[in-house]
């Protein structure tokens, strides 16, 4: 309800944009292979469903598996680094540094090492997914209120109890921020990994489309990726709503 109410302004901008796009395409008679108009893309999107739906399901499956592995690894790494401070000092800078290697550069290497199977693809998605979660979770653990920490210690809590009863729940909102970012990255990661060489997937569909100048299909692929990312994001948000119930609702904003 609220999201419709709040979302009318961006929606209006989008609609305006599409109208300008449509009108320009018709007015200047831009050829379809150069820039298809929104209606042409829409028609292809509707008519091409039997063409791309198995690509779509393949990418969804890959992204979900990759995301689950990536976020588990991310959370495990964060817990490990948090509980063993020496490890954190040694590894944290390296983890940050590793993010400066573009995944596109790494991908061919992964193919050389691991072939064209599912393994290098999952590694790519894991690599893009784990970082936001690790950083967010580590931040969450470290920000644990010192007041509550004092209380838990004085009450005689063991290290294990402090972690599970205090630090973990305290970090949950941060972890969810990380998960939201990773969930959208996982779709991108899946598409990139499919470019490495795959039999099916949105990435494959996109490559085929662009090499045969079916620009309308390239746009369909782009919209599919956007919609998928949004759906993943929304799923994490609703999961967060279900789990993090202790926050005041409405946060004071949302007036318009």
């Amino acid at each position: 309800m609220k999201i419709w109410y709040k979302g009318w302004r961006p929606a209006l901008v989008l609609i305006l944009l599409f109208i300008i796009w449509e009108v320009s395409c018709r007015l200047f008679e831009i050829p379809k292979w150069l820039l298809p108009s929104p209606t042409q893309i829409l028609l292809e999107g509707a008519a091409g469903w039997p063409n791309y739906y198995r690509h779509l399901t393949s990418t969804i499956g890959l992204a979900i598996i990759g995301f689950l592995i990536g976020s588990s690894v991310g959370i495990a790494v964060a817990i490990g680094l948090h509980l063993i401070p020496k490890l954190r000092e040694a590894l944290y800078p390296i983890i940050i540094l590793s993010q400066n290697i573009p995944i596109i550069v790494l991908a061919p290497l992964l193919v050389i090492w691991f072939g064209f199977g599912i393994l290098p693809k999952l590694i790519v998605i894991t690599l893009v997914c784990f970082f936001p979660i690790t950083v967010a979770a580590l931040d969450g653990f470290r920000q644990t209120s010192s007041e509550l920490m004092h209380y838990m210690k004085m009450a005689g809590a063991l290290k294990k109890q402090i972690f599970w009863k205090l630090e973990w729940p305290y970090a949950l909102p941060s972890i969810f921020s990380g998960l939201k970012i990773s969930a959208t990255y996982s779709v991108m990661g899946a598409v990139i990994s499919e470019w490495l060489g795959a039999k099916e997937g949105i990435g494959v569909y996109m490559t085929l489309a662009s090499s045969s100048f079916r620009t309308d299909r390239v746009f369909v692929a782009i919209f599919l990726i956007m919609v998928l990312s949004l759906v993943f994001f929304a799923l994490i948000v609703s999961l967060e709503r279900m789990i993090v119930k202790w926050k005041p609702k409405g946060d004071g904003k949302g007036r318009d």
């Binding site: 007041e147 509550l148 004092h150 209380y151 838990m152 210690k153 004085m154 009450a155 005689g156 809590a157 063991l158 109890q161 009863k165 205090l166 729940p169 949950l172 993090v244 119930k245 202790w246 926050k247 005041p248």
Partner: protein, 245 residues
């Protein structure tokens, strides 16, 4: 008979010495208040008793056992309520016992009712007023299994009306089940109204400056606050504190 015995306790943070050879004791079922200027190390004293830090020198004994640097021996209510935001009222109250593996939900619910929090068992802390949160923190302390309760300025964040109401409530609960209580406050009236004995601390480096035995009979009534004798005692302690501050 002696619950808590502190002997020649010293503690410094870096260059600054906070506690200097401080000694005091609390007897079984005794309500003792500590009055001291702010920054004199009252919270530090509690953190030492609670085992968060170890003293530089001196002894802390509970029931005769040395508890220097040992956590979990006291039931502690910090200056702010310090409730876990993701736990309901009931969940927070059960926490103290849960940490040592013994929870009593029936006792917790009974206490919640007595504290006028009926219907809020499953509310989260953000849904409570300041006074209600403080009450939950009290109940958590009272239901924790440890035998000495340490309260660090528990009323200081409350408004005047809520404060008196909470003080009376605490007294009524305590009269029923007398455990040793050590209360930190900088409010003279509060110390007089609640305690059996008042310990006045000096400025840093802190020692015990003076001790008063409060003569008022129990159970205490709010009318006491307006009596001639109460005022007389208030002046007496005020003069003692004025020399320090």
């Amino acid at each position: 008979m002696t619950k808590l015995l502190i002997e020649n306790l010293s503690k410094s943070f870096g260059e600054s010495q906070v506690l200097n050879q401080l000694s005091l004791h609390v007897k079984e079922a005794e309500f003792v208040s500590i009055l001291g200027p702010s920054g004199s190390g009252k919270s530090t004293l509690f953190q030492l008793i609670g085992g968060l830090y170890s003293p530089d020198s001196g002894e802390i004994r509970l029931d005769g056992k040395r508890i220097n640097g040992k956590t979990g021996s006291i039931s502690y209510t910090p200056q702010s309520p310090s409730l876990l935001p993701w736990r309901t009222v009931l969940g927070n109250i059960l926490l103290g016992g849960e940490l040592v593996g013994e929870t009593d939900e029936a006792a917790a619910l009974d206490m919640i009712n007595k504290a006028g929090l009926k219907g809020y068992e499953n509310a989260y802390p953000y849904e409570l007023s300041g006074g209600m949160k403080q009450r939950v923190a009290f109940i958590r302390s009272l239901l924790s299994p440890q035998s000495l309760i340490c309260l660090d300025e528990p009323f200081s964040a409350l408004d005047e009306f809520t404060r008196l109401e909470m003080q009376n409530w605490l007294l009524s609960v305590w009269e029923e089940d007398k455990r040793a209580i050590l209360l930190v406050t900088h409010n003279i009236e509060e110390a007089l109204y609640l305690s059996d004995r008042i310990i006045v601390l000096s400025e840093k480096p802190t020692q015990v400056k003076k001790e008063f035995i409060v003569p008022f009979p129990r159970p205490r009534q709010a009318a006491l606050l307006l009596s001639e004798e109460f005022l007389h005692w208030k002046k007496k302690i005020y003069n003692e504190l004025r020399v320090i501050m």
